[in-house]
Amino acid sequence: MAGVKMREFRRASARALADDKLQSFLGRSMGTFDGAREEAIEELSRQRWDELRERGRAIKRHTLDNLDYYLDMLCDRVSQNGGHTHFAKDSDEARRIVGEIARARGAKLAIKSKSMVSEEMELNPFLESMGVEPVETDLGEYIIQLAGEAPFHIIAPAMHKSKEDVGELFEKKGIGLPNLKEIEAMADAARVALRGKLIAADMGITGANFMVAETGTVALVTNEGNGRFCTSVPRTLVSIAGMEKIVPCLEDLAVFMRLLPRAATGQRISSYVTHVSGPRRPGDEDGPEEFHLVIVDNGRSNLLEDPDLREALYCIRCGACLNACPVYRKVGGHAYGWVYPGPIGAVVSPALAGLDKGKELPYASSLCGACKDVCPIKINIPHMLLKLRSSVAEGAERGGTKASLGERLAVKGYGWLMSRPRALSMARRLGRWMQWPVARRGLIRRAPVPPFSRWTRSRDLPALAPRPFRDLWRRELAEEE
């Protein structure tokens, strides 16, 4: 992880647009998940899908509205199972908790199953600094760990890497035989390289797709089987979860286990769903001796507190909104500059890392709403982006506006003009006079001043019409009545 770079969205997106290789990859690949999801929904029937979405949404709404109550219950039940719960208010505290557990158990090698929270808290460098080797075991995460990059996509972190990229990377890092050409051979090389680590690890670190308050259970959804290794082999198991991941009742999982894989990859179910309810019991043949659950706030309270933004915490991290977003499909995941890209990232990242750092992201959207359409929890992302934009523009929180002076002046000017029809009509005449040198047959091909010049880089701009509609109405249409 290379820190928070959300402010650079404009520059990073320009770079992405100019990157031919990336563009050709995005054009080729971004529809795949989308198509698979649609197919899975059709198979289930759209009506059934919408029923499930409504149920999922209702469960999440209830849980988040009463989150303190369910956190308390979860904590009780985890202890009843023989596990330990730790609470972290921010990344720093979360890192120190995991570090302390590793130190107390003398851990040297930690195998990790994909966890976005651990990306968020930059756990790996921290573990390295204290002499613990963290090994990502999800193939995609493993690749970006080797490459030292941030995830490109929530569920497919290394999707931007071609097989040639991966082959080169593996060769550089000595994974497998040199000069690997086939994807299967690369996956096999990674499997072989990781197998020894998986067996030898003394600590397992996982995220959590869901936590069940009723039974103190953590549920993990994976395809590779690495999640099962992390929860079965090492002596100590640590699961790290954002505090919003709770559902009240075990039976609620029946809803989410149908929603998540279909929305994410179009699978009817993932190959493995692992439910962990504490450490091994007396009489179990194997499994971790200790189970720790680390529950992280790290800015989630900012979303929780605002009734307009709370539903961002309903997110089950399926990535469907990324796949459907026309902006993400043009700029890719890295342009967003932090752990959570795409539409949901544009809401969550500024709240987690601070609106100051993330003020660009709510504007990284045409507000088309495709994200809301595909969201398995029907999260209204565009409405939240609008809300965040108002926080940026009006500086409702954290002292003052974040909008530029130019923008504020333009807004004031527009508002003033639109409140005064006579001034508007004069401005129009002025505009007609000013556009005269550049307008040809009703079109402006090259406007000399911003923001119009930015428009005409690639598009013609319609000129002000000879007469506005209101004149046509007065002169001709009103009398027809």
Binding site: R10, S13, L17, P326, V327, K330, V331, P362, Y363, A364, S365, S366, L367, C368, G369, A370, K372, D373, H383, L386, L388, R389, S390, S391, V392, A393, E394, A403, E407, V411, K412, Y414, G415, M418, S419, P421, L424, L443, R445, P451, F452, R454, W455, S458, R459, D460, L461, P462, A463, L464, A465, R467, F469, R470, D471, W473, R474, L477, E480, E481
Partner: protein
């Protein structure tokens, strides 16, 4: 309309149509009158405030919203030839004034009286064939707000299907945004252009003579892209076709 009270509608023409595409307004008036609707045009209307609201300036947007609420306080129904402006008035005005004891009730009241043009034709008037004629192949681009805030999937299509001589062709990836997005089109011009390129490719690929939509913003974007490319395809508003002024 014999035997029925005449339906009255006020036109909110939107600032883009007023200033840039007045013919769209003419089309709306002609189409409505062809169905016996009595149309009026409150003269002090300007902008619904959407550009400011979408940029995050809610206070300034609210000022324009209050103006608009006043302009249409006495209208039976308000017809808007724009999915996004209609969304602003139907969906976001009540949100903007939700805690305002004075303007909140007015906003909620207007919300129920506002109709996007195609929805008004099909759902209020109950017509899909207005007797219009237009020769040639036409592709339909559903604008995002009309599609996703107002849920209009079939209305514009059935109106196009009712036009004599018009052959409707399917637009590939029709529901994908054209990249306009108001301020987005200049704030993130590069991304907007990239999205537009796909849309223009798809439109040109249909071999249509025109691409129809229900939002001046999309028409400005798609039309601007088509003419810059020198493509022989026009971007027209549905109302222009229905009103016989395309």
């Amino acid at each position: 309309m014999v035997g029925k009270a005449r339906i009255r509608a006020s036109l909110f023409v939107t600032c883009l149509v007023d200033q840039l595409f007045p013919r769209v307004g003419v089309g709306v008036v002609r189409a409505l009158r062809s169905q016996g609707v009595s149309v009026d045009f409150p003269p002090d209307q300007t902008c619904c405030g959407q550009p400011l609201f979408n940029s995050g300036f809610r206070k300034e947007a609210a000022a324009l919203a209050r103006r608009t609420l006043k302009s249409f306080a006495h209208s039976d129904r308000v017809v808007v030839p724009s999915g996004s402006c209609a969304s602003m008035m139907k969906v976001f005005y009540p949100d903007l004034f939700r805690d305002d004891p004075e303007w909140g009730p007015l906003a909620r009241d207007l919300s129920g009286r506002v109709h996007e043009f195609s929805q008004f034709m099909v759902n209020v008037l109950g017509v899909t064939d207005v007797g219009a004629a237009y020769e040639g192949r036409v592709a339909y681009h559903p604008s995002c707000h009309l599609l996703r805030e107002l849920g209009a999937v079939d209305e514009p299509v059935s109106l196009l299907n009712g036009v004599k001589g018009l052959e409707r062709v399917e637009l590939p990836e029709a529901g994908v945004c054209c990249g306009f997005g108001g301020g987005f089109s200049v704030k993130h011009a590069g991304i907007s252009e990239a999205m537009l390129k796909d849309k223009v490719d798809n439109v040109v690929g249909t071999g249509a003579r025109a691409v129809a939509s229900c939002d001046a913003g999309c028409l400005m974007q798609i039309g601007g892209g088509l003419s810059r490319r020198g493509a022989d395809v026009r971007a027209v508003h549905l109302a222009e076709i229905l009103g016989g002024v395309a």
